[in-house]
């Protein structure tokens, strides 16, 4: 099959259509993300300003970077009991909660939560709780790929 036949083939049309669908899907998705982020940004700015009028308190440390509630990559900066504080991208610090269902995986297999040390880099998958923390389901200790 030469290039001329390829451009006129059904196979080419299918590939082209796939890229078109992907472009539309990602565009709609990014539009949704943009609207959601703007709503969230407005809400926390409103909340921040509202309390500023009554109580003297510092502003939210994070003013621009959206926090991922379903997982993070970062460094453990404080370990205490069943929770630790993780410093992720843009120096955002998030509390990670662990329970008896949390699976911790290291280089040599499963670990205990108490085996996690400050300064270690981890990937966390979990879900948000109603206090702005992440409830960890899977913690993977860095195998050397995190910078």
């Amino acid at each position: 099959m030469n290039l001329k036949d390829f451009f006129q083939s059904k196979q080419f049309k299918r590939i082209y259509l796939t890229f078109g669908i992907l472009a539309i899907l990602t565009l709609v998705f990014s539009f949704g993300v943009f609207i959601g982020s703007e709503k969230a940004r407005f809400s926390y700015r409103w909340s921040d300003n509202y309390y500023h009028n009554f109580v003297e308190q510092p502003s939210f440390p994070n003013q621009g970077t959206p926090i991922k509630p379903h997982g993070l990559l970062g460094e453990i900066i404080k370990q205490s009991g069943n929770q630790f504080i993780l410093r992720g991208a843009d120096n955002i610090e998030i509390t990670i909660l662990n329970d008896n269902k949390t699976v911790v995986v290291g280089k040599s297999g499963n670990l205990k939560i108490s085996d996690l040390k400050e300064g270690e880099k981890v990937v966390v998958i979990g879900g948000p709780d109603n206090q702005g923390r992440v409830r960890a389901k899977l913690i993977r200790v860095d195998a050397g790929f995190l910078k």
Partner: protein, 127 residues
Amino acid sequence: MKHLPPADLYDRVINRINYEHRRGILKRSLLLYFSGFLLSLGTFSQLIVKSYEAIVRAGLPEIFSLVFTNFNLVMSNISDFTMLILESLPSLFLALSFSILMILIFSFGKLFGSLMELKTLNKLKAN
């Protein structure tokens, strides 16, 4: 002695006019598609670099690596894993990359088609 024009002179003149007309159109199309191709190629390469940087910054390679190292655990937390991927995806860069890729393929296809047509036209003229 009276000089007479060849019998096929009229056809030759008309064919030549048609050929030049078609050639002019093809030249303009070639210029247009070539500029489109170059422009989209430049934009696409820039977007690919930006998308790659955004993907690395979001930690997607590390997140995806969990699929290979801890497949069963990822599968048992597939909803959180999917949400994490979607949250980390640089969707705007990807959307722009796919759109520009479509323009790139389209302009390349049209450029190739115009080139082929010009080649055929020149062959016909030679015959």
